[in-house]
Structure formats: structure tokens, C-alpha cells
Symmetry: C2
Subunit: 458 residues, 2 copies
């Protein structure tokens, strides 16, 4: 609980309109998009300028108040939930696109800008901001950077880190820190943009970014490929990559997910398919058509039936349906646990088999979809956290999914981050020495442990 | 000076064949490719395995011996020179390509692998490792990562950071630290590959990397464009980028550099040109030819005369001559100071004008060449460090080049790093708060200040 005096100080910094501490106001900030136990913050603040950000950090440092930074709260690893009360700082008041430079191909944006707004601004200028997490219509750029958000186009275009040129943030003492800049090459001191990507709110409060934008692809072609056997679909993915073809996107949905989407919305996804691949190829028309022919052959050789989108409307409907995968699955059981194991692309078939076996072995419902072209699958466990017996089997399944990914040269999380939910697995992947190194890094920069404390178990 | 006992301990770790402390042996490690005063290390060691690396760090930590890591010593900012004696650790004994994965498109290499060897291995496998610093025939991958080395192909293909997927290094206590991995997406904990890029030997001793390789471009076309006015050449560069065309390379050479290269080797560079642009376009043949036509028009509109390389031999000779720029200039005066100012690409003409004015104002000889397509120019000052009066004017010129770059939204260094030579300018670009943050980061991780101490003034 905060002292009355402290609350008054918050109000003095922010004005009373941007500062909430009544239980009914702060409860909405007690959870995010991850499965976990809710914890309410003591106070929620929404700064409208950088000076307020700096002062809030100063106050938290002085009073030893844990400070959790939050954009849209779409975090899938519990990163934006305060584990021990304290202050939640909303970045949504810092929501301006400050510069859009068409000549030098970058945008300067504040942390609270919605991802889709930046994508739209780029499009208006005939340009392209590729990172497109499924939540992009609500997620913020600040959150995207803090989690190194991926998306559907990661295969060809990479993830948020591949677009971050510069960052401005406030450190644990409220000092403004500048990293990177507006040049495409930058070697001035430590790589602070690289440090802050994936930092999950533990190293500073990010307020502003310089992001690269690129020319818009001229032409694209969208395919839906229908399989009777999901393993053949996975083998197709490995073969496309091994053939050195890079579509913009290769997404997969298993039969369970297809059915869930069909129940939720009207879609052309065929109910009987064991799996679907959704593929988009983009670029210069000649190259797209050539790649299309090669992909067609590969799909056929793995018994996939290809349907090509005939127009923009057909294409958009398919991607809209794909983006509904998680929310469609979420409707089916009270508790949804979304995993994020990622493996090298040649190991996608083996990873899919492992997931199937784990599901069977523990009698757990798992719907799997995800960015197959990145080796990034989202096995989604449907359960009920009140059912203790089932939850034990769920826990074992999660452990086994993690170990299967590691055994296949993979990683715990491709894009959702560690936060609170995955903290227990960090050491298993990286070793105690690495976790200790991360601790030294964290505490060297934030000696009072104010910024998102106890996340990643650091 | 090291104690006899300590030297014996070094020998015990390494065997006497990989450990030197006689003045005539260590003097070659007293300087690197940057202009500066030589400082000899007390001891030079060449570990052949990771266990030795760990033990050397442990010994240095115990005895408070500064530890400087060195690959080929091509560093251009004094980063590999020991400022206060101590131990130089050569990575050249760790020189194996451990894995080359053609299916999942990555290579696992040790720190001492020569850049050109990795490029060759990729080529043998029909793949492509793009980063190509001018020194790539001798530079090591470890040095490339520590400095975030760029090269001629940065424009289209990015720099070393864009290829680093994973890193293994030993921290200041000799513990093995693991960052990143073999998956194209990775969000497990802090972004340690991003942290170690550009870390210039201050944060750990890197021993192993996982590097992305990409499909080889099918086709390329090389152009030499001759200008009577270098500013028109610079305007061409800005216009190509603003037209959203991304050749693999756009290099510039001014008249002084052209003449220097002509004096050094046999070349087709025309003596009378005020400037040359060397452009290479690569990719799918259709796209290359289309981009070629557009570039031709742009060059002509800025009064550039285009010559196309007719075959591989002509092409190779042009790039060979370009790579001779620095060494050709170096022959002309006793002291060469290579600057690395980088600006957004639309500001290249303004930056070139600023360099010309500074050269004139202080009566200093500057030959300028570099990666114009990245906004990364290398104004190269030719002088004699024994001439105190001229050195004063050189110092003023360097200051003014730096300030001109900053004024144009640029940065101090695009690819050569800070090291010792640029340390005094760091605060001018990033502010005292940021330098202080970097200090906290460095000392949090390396509390005894063993690793490349005093570099970047941290």
C-alpha cells in the first residue's frame, strides 16, 4: 500500500485525471493476455509527456515502488502484471508519430503508438512497416520493442528488432538515455537499441523509437494449401526453406484450430482438413510468379491441394480468419495456455510430432497454429485451471514441449518473451551462468530493482 | 609488469608455445590499424580452446590484469591496443567453422575465423554471407561482431548485426554465457547477441557465433559512374535511395582518392574524374535489369557517365581497386586518420560539402571515399603526427567533421567504433546521462574493470 503522501506526489506530477488508485480502477491492470493469477497495482499512471515519465521514475526510486510499464496489455507471458503491487505506468498517453521521413525511410514514434497506426501511416506514404503481431490492431510499438514482437511476416521480413534503429528511454534513476539514431549504420558506443529489444520492462522506460520502413512490395499472391496429414504440411515448410524460397508468410493451422475458427466465424477453411498452410509470396511480379510455380510443385509433392486467392477480398478473409485462431480457441475452455516453442525450420515436422505425442500421452487438448515458416509454433493448451488433476498434466505437457524444442536445437520462446510465466524455464535453456549474467546486467543498471522487479526471475 | 609467478601461471594454462612476454614478441601487439601511440602488452596469449579462455580470464581477474581481446588487429579506433599493459588475448587460435547448415541456413563459427573464409565456405555451399569489411581477407568474425563491422554491401544487406543469431562468450569472471540460438526467432531473456554486437571487448570474451547465411543472388550488374562534380555524385546517391531502389552497393571515391589508387595500382579509374560512383545491383535478373534502367536515368540526370562492367574480370578489378582506397592513401603521408562520420542518405551531399569546406578552411589534405549508399563516408586525413602545427589543424578538422555529421542528424561512427580514438566524442553525441548508463552497464557486468579497461572512456 502506498502512503497518502506518496499518492499526493503522484497526483502533483500527473494531475488527478491521469492517476488512479481506487480498487475498481486499478483492477483492469491486474492481468494481461497471459494465463496467470491477477495482482492489482496500487496506482496506475498515464504520463502525457517525457518529463512526467522521468519524475514518476524518480518518485518510485525514492520510495522503492515497483514500476511496471504497460502498453495495450496484450503481453502473452505476464510481463505487464505487477507481481507485488506498486505502480503501473501506461504508455498510451505517449501516442504520437513524431516524424515520418519518406526520403530516408524511417519513422520516429512514441511508445504508445498502435502498431497498426504506424503500418497505416507507412502505407499512406507508399511504404511498409512489416512487423505484424496478431494483436497489431491494439498492441503498442513500445510493447512490440520490449517483447521483440514477431508476427505473420517474420519469415521474409524479420521481427521488430530488424526495424529498430534508435531508442530513447529513461533509466532507473529517471535520466534520459539515447541509443542509436537516424543513420542506417551506427557504431557509437554500446548497441543500446539491441539491449532494449526484448528487455521486457526491466532495463528502462522506453518512450520513443526510430523505426526503419521499407518499400512496399509491388505484388503478392496468397495460397491456401489443404492437407490430409499435418506432418506432410510441416515437411512442405522445411522443403520450401531448404529450397531457399522465402515467402513473406507461411502459417499453419491444425484440424482442431481450423474447426475452432469455423465455429467462431464464417470462413472458407475446410472442416475436414488435417492441416492448412497459408502462404503469401510478395515482391517483384516476375519473382513472385517464379516462386509460386516452385512452391506449387513442392506442395503437390507433399500431397497438398493448393487454392489461390483470386482477389484482395478473398485474400483478406483468409488472413482475418488466421488472426482469429487464438481467440477462437479461447472460447472453447475456461483456461488457455499459449506456448511459443521455436525450432530451426528443418525441425518443424519433428516438433509437430512431439506436440501430438505429448497431447496424447497426457490426454490434454492442444490446438496448434503459428508461424511455421519461422519454426515458431503456438501449441495452445485448452484447459480449466480449477481442475487440479488436469492442471498437473498440463504442467507436465508444458515441460515436455519445452524439452522437445530444446532437444531439436530450439528455444523456449520465439516471440512471446519470458515475463513471469516462462521465468522458471530460463535457466534450463541458457544455464545458471547466463541467468546470473543477466542478473548482473539488470542490477548494474537498476540497483534498487525498481523496474518490473522479479520478472524473468532476475 | 607481471610477477614471475603470474607469468608461470599463464604458461601453465597455455603451454609455453602460446604465450609470449619478451619485448620483441609483444611489440607487434602494441598498435592496431588506427593512428595512435603504441603501448605494449606485458603478455600475449593465444588460447586453443575455450577452457583456456576461461582460465585466462580467471587469472586476470584474480591478479587485476587488464585483458584486451584481439583478432587480426584491423581495428580502426584503437580498440585492440592495451592502454596500460596487461594481457592481449589472441582469438586466432580459435579458428574453426564448426557447422555449416545448408537446410536451416546458418553457420557456427569460432571467433578467430577469417571473414573471407566464412564467405568462401558459404559460396561453396551456394549461399552468401554478405558482410564484407574492406579488411575481410584478414579480419576475424570475432572482431567483426565486436565492432559491428559493415562493408561495401551494407546498403542492401545490412551489417554484421543483421546476421548474428547467437553468441557464446566468457564473462569477466570466466563463466560461459549463452545468447541467442539456431532459430530465426528468439525471445528468451535479454537479447545478448544484440548486447555483444558493438561491445568492443568491454563486456566479455566472445568465442563462438551462430551466423545467418542467405541465398546467393542469381545475377548482378556492376557500374562505374564518372562525374565532373562530386556533389552531383552525392545527389545521385540521395535520389537513388529516395526512389526506393536498393542496389547491393553504392561506393564513392573523390578525385584525390582516385589519383592515389592510380598511383598505387593499375586501374581503369579515370584520372580526371572529380568523383566516381561504383554501383552493384544484384538479385533476380528481371529486377536487376529494371533497377539498372532506373539508375541509369538517375545518373544521367545528374550528369554522370555510366560505364558497365562487361564481364566478371572487369567487375572484380573495379572492386579490387576500391578496396585499395585506404592503403593507397596511406602511402602518401606518414600519418593517416580515417574518419567514419555517417548521416541519413539524403544528407550525403551536405556532408560532402562540409568536408570540402573543412579541408579548405584548415588547409588539410582529405581524401574521401566510402559507403555513400549507407550515408557512411570515410574522409581520410593525410598528415604527419610530428608536425605539431598541422596536427592542431587536424584536430580542429576532426572536431568540425564530427559536429557537421551531428548537425545533419548523423553519428560519429557508422562502423569503426569508439575504442580509444573516438572516446572523447561519445558524450557529445549521446549526452552525459547515456555515457553514465553505459558505465553502469559495463561495471555491473565487469566490476573489477578487467575487460578492455578505459576504452570508450567507460
Amino acid at each position: 500500500m502506498l502512503k497518502k503522501n506518496t499518492i499526493r506526489e503522484f497526483r502533483e506530477i500527473l494531475g488527478s485525471n491521469n492517476c488512479w488508485n481506487r480498487p475498481e480502477d486499478v483492477i483492469c491492470y491486474s492481468y494481461d493476455a497471459a494465463y496467470e493469477e491477477p495482482v492489482s497495482p496500487d496506482i496506475v499512471v498515464k504520463p502525457g509527456n517525457y518529463n512526467q515519465v522521468s519524475k514518476i521514475i524518480g518518485l518510485c526510486a525514492e520510495e522503492n515502488i515497483p514500476l511496471v510499464i504497460r502498453g495495450a496489455g496484450t503481453n502473452l507471458s505476464g510481463g505487464t502484471v505487477p507481481l507485488s503491487g506498486g505502480c503501473v505506468l501506461l504508455t498510451t498517453g505517449l501516442n504520437r508519430i513524431l516524424e515520418f521521413n519518406k526520403e530516408d525511410l524511417y519513422a520516429v514514434v512514441q511508445a504508445g503508438v498502435i502498431t497498426a497506426e504506424l503500418a497505416l501511416e507507412a502505407e499512406k506514404n507508399g511504404l511498409f512497416y512489416p512487423p505484424d503481431p496478431a494483436s497489431m490492431k491494439v498492441s503498442t510499438i513500445g510493447g512490440n520493442v520490449a517483447e521483440n514482437a514477431g508476427g505473420l511476416r517474420g519469415l521474409k521480413y524479420g521481427v521488430t528488432k530488424d526495424y529498430l534503429m534508435g531508442v530513447r528511454f529513461y533509466d532507473a534513476e529517471g535520466n534520459l538515455i539515447i541509443g542509436g539514431g537516424k543513420t542506417v549504420k551506427h557504431a557509437t558506443g554500446f548497441n543500446l537499441p539491441g539491449l532494449m529489444i526484448s528487455s521486457e520492462g526491466l532495463l528502462g522506460v522506453m518512450v520513443e523509437f526510430i523505426l526503419r520502413v521499407i518499400p512496399k512490395p509491388e505484388y503478392s499472391k496468397s495460397l491456401m494449401v489443404v492437407y490430409n496429414d499435418i506432418i506432410r504440411a510441416c515437411e512442405t515448410v522445411s522443403e520450401i526453406i531448404a529450397s531457399r524460397i522465402f515467402p513473406a508468410t507461411i502459417e499453419i493451422l491444425d484440424n482442431f484450430t481450423i474447426k475452432a475458427v469455423r465455429e467462431a466465424i464464417k470462413t472458407e477453411f475446410p472442416a475436414g482438413a488435417d492441416a492448412l498452410l497459408l502462404i503469401e509470396i510478395d515482391g517483384h511480379p516476375e519473382v513472385v510468379n517464379k516462386d509460386f510455380d516452385r512452391i506449387l510443385k513442392i506442395c503437390n509433392s507433399f500431397n497438398g491441394t493448393v487454392r489461390v486467392a483470386n482477389n484482395k477480398d478473398e485474400r483478406d478473409k483468409v488472413w482475418e480468419a488466421r488472426r482469429m485462431a487464438l481467440s477462437s480457441l479461447s472460447r472453447l475452455r475456461p483456461t488457455v495456455i499459449l506456448e511459443d516453442a521455436t525450432v530451426p525450420r528443418s525441425k518443424v515436422p519433428a516438433m509437430m510430432k512431439a506436440i501430438q505425442e505429448i497431447s496424447k500421452k497426457h490426454d490434454i487438448t492442444i490446438g496448434t497454429f503459428g508461424h511455421a515458416g519461422d519454426g515458431n509454433l503456438h501449441p495452445t493448451i485448452l484447459t480449466d485451471k480449477r481442475d487440479r488433476d488436469e492442471m498437473k498434466r498440463v504442467k507436465m505437457s508444458i515441460d515436455e514441449i519445452f524439452h522437445a524444442a530444446l532437444k531439436l536445437d530450439g528455444t523456449l520462446t520465439g516471440e512471446h518473451g519470458i515475463g513471469f510465466l516462462k521465468a522458471g524455464y530460463l535457466e534450463g535453456e541458457l544455464g545458471a551462468g547466463t541467468v546470473n549474467f543477466m542478473k548482473k546486467l539488470k542490477h548494474g543498471i537498476d540497483s534498487k530493482n525498481i523496474l518490473n522487479p522479479h520478472k524473468m526471475n532476475l
